[in-house]
């Protein structure tokens, strides 16, 4: 296997350079594109060439599975304390659209201990069918039993597409299921579509901290699996008059499937910590001045019913815990409203929040890069502005 650029055909337009995700892998020499040893042969440049000068020498492989046998769109139902995660509801709505385009069924996979009552919510959000896996071993999420049950379901019922929320648990076991089944898994998708010609699931995701987008296909393996970022897909109104079929599935879980023991589950006591699910996030950066001022960020977040985040600088300085960090080495979020207070807007931070619907920046420095991505910029002292906003919203929302 290799990537070859036909020198005679290359017109030196440079499109391949723009398509290449690996710095220095393609260079221009004498107005001709040349592949260097930094190339990892990902193939991303092949389609970018306007004159067809780039070729991928690939040995043709027989399709691993009989694709026609795989039908239906599935969504893994993540739930906790009797409540379905928002990302699951978003995926049911997105899955409904994909299923309709394909003329196939939408099914929800509900694994738990006594979770059957959640099936009606799955129907309300668009599922035609619920696969219910019930048992004491599924009471709390655990990698081994969930991997085993889900893989057995796939082998028996052969779905075409499977979607998981890109949450800690979703990413934890979807990767294992993909290896066990031998199929593709695309992480952290932000856009899904059905290719009208091939009917393949077109899975678009950010890479390199959101600097590059890549569209990924799983052509020869089934199911086509993806984890999808929370808060990206739109949720539509539930219809509680919808009903569907509940299919009970008895998973075969052995001693060997129990990989580890959960000794304790400790929940954060503060209300403002679930950044992934929050519709509104208020974040503080170095501009807050010290750990003793972070409370104004939390208070505004609480009044707005949102979560409180932080920049890397603030976390690395030890002012707030790491679980509040937004950015490349923290969490990636996409709330409806992101209020950045005293955050300069390093690319590291932008990578974690620039897909938010609406961004407000409050910063003393009129030159702060955060203003370049903010819908609304306010040059002001956050120590005055944030408490003032809190009072205004308190009046408005009470």
């Amino acid at each position: 296997m290799a990537i070859n650029i036909n020198k005679d055909d290359c017109i030196g337009c440079g499109l391949c350079l723009e398509s290449c995700p690996y710095p220095g892998a393609i260079v221009m020499t004498d107005n001709t594109a040349v592949i260097t040893d930094k190339c990892v042969e990902c193939g991303a440049c092949v389609d970018s060439c306007s004159v067809g000068a780039i070729e991928f020498e690939e040995t043709k492989r027989e399709t691993a599975v009989d694709i026609a046998q795989y039908k239906g769109v599935w969504v893994f139902v993540e739930h906790r304390k009797g409540r379905i995660a928002n990302v699951t509801l978003e995926l049911l709505c997105e899955g409904r659209k994909l299923a309709d385009q394909l003329g196939q069924e939408l099914a929800a996979v509900l694994i738990g201990d006594g979770a059957q009552d959640l099936a009606k919510t799955c129907f309300a959000y668009g599922a035609d069918r619920v696969y219910l896996v019930d048992g004491a071993v599924f009471g709390h999420y655990s990698t081994g039993p969930y991997t085993a049950a889900f893989s057995q379901l796939i082998k028996k019922y052969r779905p075409n597409i499977v979607l998981f929320g890109a949450t800690h648990d979703g990413r934890d076991f979807a990767a294992r299921v993909a290896v066990r089944i031998y199929t593709g898994l695309t992480a952290d998708c932000t856009e899904l579509a059905i290719d009208p010609d091939t009917e393949l699931l077109s899975q678009t995701r950010p890479a390199f901290g959101g600097n590059v987008m890549a569209t990924i296909l799983t052509p020869g393996h089934r199911p086509q699996m993806a984890t999808v970022r929370p808060n990206v897909m739109k949720r539509s109104q539930p219809d509680y008059s919808r009903t569907g079929e509940v299919v009970r599935f008895k998973a075969d879980i052995t001693e060997d499937d129990i990989l580890y023991q959960i000794r304790e589950v400790v929940e954060h006591t503060a209300k403002t910590v679930n950044l992934e699910e929050a519709d509104i996030i208020v974040s503080g950066g170095r501009g807050i001045g010290g750990p003793e001022h972070y409370h104004i960020i939390e208070e505004l977040a609480e009044v707005l019913g949102g979560a409180a985040g932080a920049s890397r600088a603030v976390v690395d300085a030890g002012w707030v815990p790491h679980y509040r960090q937004v950015g490349q080495t923290g969490k990636t979020v996409a709330p409806k409203l992101y209020i950045a207070c005293g955050i300069s807007g390093a690319i590291q931070h932008l990578a974690g929040m620039q897909t938010s619907d609406f961004i407000v920046a409050i910063n003393k420095d009129p030159e702060a890069p955060i203003f370049k991505v903010a819908n609304i910029g306010i040059c002001a002292d956050l120590h005055k502005a944030v408490p003032y906003l809190k009072e205004r919203f308190k009046e408005l929302l009470s």
Binding site: E41, G43, F208, Y260, Q325, T329, N375, I376, Y388
Partner: protein, 261 residues
Amino acid sequence: MDIIVCIKQVPDTTEVKIDPEKGTLIREGVPSIVNPFDEYAVEAALQIKEKLGGKVTVITMGPLQAVEALKKCVAMGADEAVLVSDKAFAGSDTWATSYTLAGAVKALGGFDLILCGKQAIDGDTAQVGPGIAEHLGISQVTYVQKVISVREDAIEVERGIEAGYEVIETPLPAVLTIDKSANQPRLPSMMGTMKALKKEIPTLTAADIDVKADLLGMEGSPTRVKRTFTPQPRKGGRMLQGEMEDMLAELVKILQEEKIV
């Protein structure tokens, strides 16, 4: 305790700049670094070795220049480093990468614990760690934010979840993926840097590991990159003007009009 740390050399994406006119990435001169999360994995390995003794081996699958990343880890204190490199591995997705690394781990002989970073900052998938565990048929704990205690046959850790954390005890061998709050990675010492300079780093090729040729590289990978593109840079909006109170009143009005609040 024999610990293997799987690392990756990545472009330093924080150094990536956007061409303001074309809106495209400027890639020239972007340095390669050890994936930041992997440094936490190396540090966790070194701390466990300091408690229980044993050996820390870092491995990476990548092109020849990835040796530089391995040397950094040796400079931090890793005992051995191995490059897994072959043209046959080119174009691997996370399935084929974890298959190859699992094969390399087996080829290295025994191990008690495999550590990886939570995810790599270029691909951001977090799939290779669990993939290795599945290929090897062993336990895994992801998003490890703290190592609580460790003994020869088991390890107790905190696993971060959205709502808080779980305290998990897993038997060994196992794969752990390490998150940022687990520790503070040490800087390479002068001695370590000297040692790294002289360190012989062997290469494992496809012929050295027990893997099926048709499961490697692009051929073995279920996914294909159809295309890549640079997203439209987000456009900055309005700077509000005037006294603070007026600006904030206007902000509140806008947020209400847009039905955001």
